[in-house]
Homo-oligomer: 339 residues x 2
C-alpha cells in the first residue's frame, strides 16, 4: 500500500469554540495534529491571561476524556481597544504565543473588533518587544467582499514598517495580491494558508447551487487567486505555512437564512492536503508547509513522532457530532494509517 | 395618505412552477400584475404547443380558484436542440410570445439547455420571420461565476447581427457591461431588469452571513454594476423594462447544503420598485418601466385599470405557503391600497 509519512504537523489557525461544540470537534484535530493555535474569538472571547488559563483547563479536560492527551494547544488572545501592554505581558506569562486582531465586523464574533490600528500601537510595541506574534484577520471592514483582503494590505505594510521586529502572520490568505505582498515584505511577515483556499473558488460557493459548507471568510476568490495561493503553498518559501481555519458551526447555523461563515475542515485536513499536494506533484513540499515553517516562525521545536497516511479511499461522513464536515459525502483518496 | 398610482404593470419574467408550488405563489403575482411572461423551465419543461396548452389550463384553473381571473399569463417555450421551426410555428399558434434559451447548466433546470447557438440558427430564423421574441438567460457556461454574463455578450452580438429583425431580450441583466452592450445594440435588443438586482450586491449574499434568500443567478455583482443597472432602469430608455425573475423554491430547498438559486420577489415586487424608484427620485419613470416599454417591445397593448399603492408600512411575512419571500421580516414603506 502506498503511504505518506512526515513529522507530526501543526495547525496554526484552529477554531475549537467552547462547551459542547469544543467537545464535539477537538478530537478531529488532536488525532492528526501535534499542536494547534487556538483562535480566541469564542463567546466570551479569550481576552487575557485569565481567559487563557480557563480555556486551557477546558481543552485539557476535553483531550483527557478523548484519550488524546498529547495534542498541545497554543493560545492567542483577542486584541481589542481595551488590550494594554500589561495584558500582553500577562498573557505571555501564561504561555500565549500570539495576539489576534479581528478588524471590526469582518467575521464570526468580531463586533468587538479593532476599528483603529493606530491606537493599538502601544500594544503592538509590547508584542514586538516581548516576542508575541501578531495574527491578523486581514480584511478591511466596509469594503466590497471581494476587495476586503486587498484593501487591507496597506495596513499590513504600515505594521511591518512601524514594528520592524514584530512577527506578523496574515491569516488565511485568499488572493494573488496578498501572496505577492507577503513575499515582498520582510521576513517578519508570514501568512497562513488553509486547505479550503487551496481547493475552492467562489464558483464552489455560489457558482451553481449555494453551498453553505464551502462558505468562509475571507471568501474563496477567482481561479487565478487560488492558483497563486497554491503556488505559495508549494513554493518552499518559509513565509507560507498551514493554518486550517477549521471553523465548526452546528448544521442548523450553516443551513439557514443567515448562515455562519466557516468550513469545518479538521476531519479531512491532512488527507486533503496530501491529496492536493500530490496532484500538484509537490508532496515533498508538504512536510515543511505543515511541520517546519510555522514552527520556525513561532520559534517552536519540530514535533516528534510520525504521522502516516495510506492511499486508501474513505467517504467523509455527512455529519459528525452535529457538525457537517467539509467535503461531506465525498470520497477522499488518503486515510490515516490504522494503528 | 401619500399614494402612487399607474397603469397595471407587467412582469416580463416570472417563474410560477407547477402543481402545489404554482398554487402557492401565483396569487402574489396575479394580485398586482396584469400580465406575466411565464418561464418554461418547469419540470417537465414547456417545450412546445401541447405543453403551453396544458400549462395554460393549469394556470387558469389556479387563478379561478383564487378569484383572480384577470391576470393574463403570457407563454414562452423552452428552446433546445430538439426545437424545430415547426415547433415555433405551432407554439405561436397557441399564443406563445417568446422562446427562451437557457445555455446548458447555467441555472435551475437547465441541464437540457443549449450548448451550441449556431445549430439553433433555423429556429432563430423562424422566430425572426414569424415574430416570436427570443429571451436569453445571458450567461456563458463554464466561465467563472462573476464573468459569465460578460462572456456571453459576444453571443448576443452575433445573434443581433445575424438575425437583424429578431427581437431579443437579455434577461435579468446584472453588470455594467451588459447595460452598455444593450444600449449600443440596435433597438431589436432589449433587457429585463429585476427588483432584486436593483437592490442587492454580492455583499448581500456572501458579505457577512450567507443569505440563501438573496441568492440568484446571475448572482448580484459589484456596487458599480448595481449602479449601472439602476441607471438603466430609471433612464427612460425603452430598451430596459421590468421582469421580476421571481423564482420560488420551498424553504427547505433554499436553506440546505445545496441551495437553489432564485429570489421569491413576487410578494414585494411593486412595493419594492416604488420604494427604490422613489429613493432615486425617479418615481415618474416607474410606469414606463413596468407598464409601457415591455408591452411595446412585445407588441402588446397597454394594460387597462390602475394599480394604487399607499405609503403605509408593512412587514414582509417570514414565510408564505412554505416559501420564504424576498426581504422576509423586513419593513416595506409602500402597501397595496385597500380595495
Amino acid at each position: 500500500m502506498t503511504t505518506y509519512s512526515q513529522h507530526y504537523p501543526d495547525d496554526f489557525h484552529l477554531h475549537l469554540r467552547r462547551g459542547d461544540l469544543l467537545k464535539a470537534v477537538i478530537g478531529q484535530s488532536a488525532y492528526q495534529f501535534a499542536r494547534g493555535l487556538i483562535m480566541p474569538n469564542t463567546v466570551p472571547p479569550i481576552l487575557n491571561a485569565a481567559f487563557v488559563d480557563n480555556y486551557f483547563v477546558e481543552i485539557r479536560l476535553a483531550l483527557r476524556n478523548l484519550r488524546l492527551p498529547n495534542f498541545k494547544p497554543l493560545f492567542a488572545i483577542k486584541l481589542n481597544h481595551r488590550t494594554t501592554p500589561e495584558t500582553i505581558r500577562e498573557a505571555i506569562n501564561v504561555g500565549a504565543v500570539a495576539g489576534k486582531v479581528y478588524p471590526i465586523g469582518v467575521t464570526t464574533n468580531s463586533d468587538d473588533g479593532v476599528s483603529d490600528f493606530e491606537s493599538m500601537a502601544p500594544v503592538f510595541a509590547a508584542m514586538e518587544k516581548w516576542g508575541m506574534v501578531l495574527c491578523l484577520h486581514g480584511e478591511k471592514p466596509g469594503e466590497f467582499c471581494l476587495d476586503r483582503e486587498v484593501e487591507f494590505l496597506p495596513t499590513l505594510d504600515c505594521l511591518a514598517k512601524n514594528f520592524p521586529k514584530l512577527r506578523i502572520v496574515l491569516e488565511h490568505i485568499s488572493t494573488a495580491k496578498a501572496v505577492e505582498r507577503v513575499q515582498s515584505l520582510p521576513n517578519t511577515v508570514a501568512a497562513t494558508i488553509t486547505a479550503h483556499h487551496l481547493l475552492l473558488t467562489l464558483d464552489d460557493v455560489i457558482g451553481g447551487k449555494l453551498r453553505p459548507h464551502n462558505f468562509c471568510l475571507p471568501i474563496a476568490k477567482r481561479p487565478k487567486d487560488r492558483a497563486a495561493v497554491r503556488m505559495a503553498a508549494i513554493s518552499g518559501n518559509p513565509k507560507f505555512f498551514f493554518g486550517s481555519d477549521s471553523a465548526p458551526h452546528l448544521k442548523g447555523d450553516k443551513e439557514c437564512a443567515e448562515g455562519c461563515a466557516g468550513c469545518y475542515t479538521a476531519p479531512v485536513a491532512m488527507p486533503l492536503l496530501v491529496q492536493i499536494f500530490e496532484r500538484m506533484n509537490a508532496l515533498d513540499k508538504l512536510e515543511n508547509f505543515t511541520s517546519k515553517f510555522g514552527a520556525d516562525f513561532y520559534h517552536l521545536p519540530l514535533n516528534e513522532g510520525t504521522l502516516v497516511l495510506e492511499k486508501r479511499p474513505w467517504t467523509v461522513p455527512k455529519e459528525i457530532n452535529g457538525v457537517v464536515p467539509f467535503l461531506a459525502g465525498e470520497t477522499m483518496e488518503w486515510s490515516f494509517a490504522c494503528e
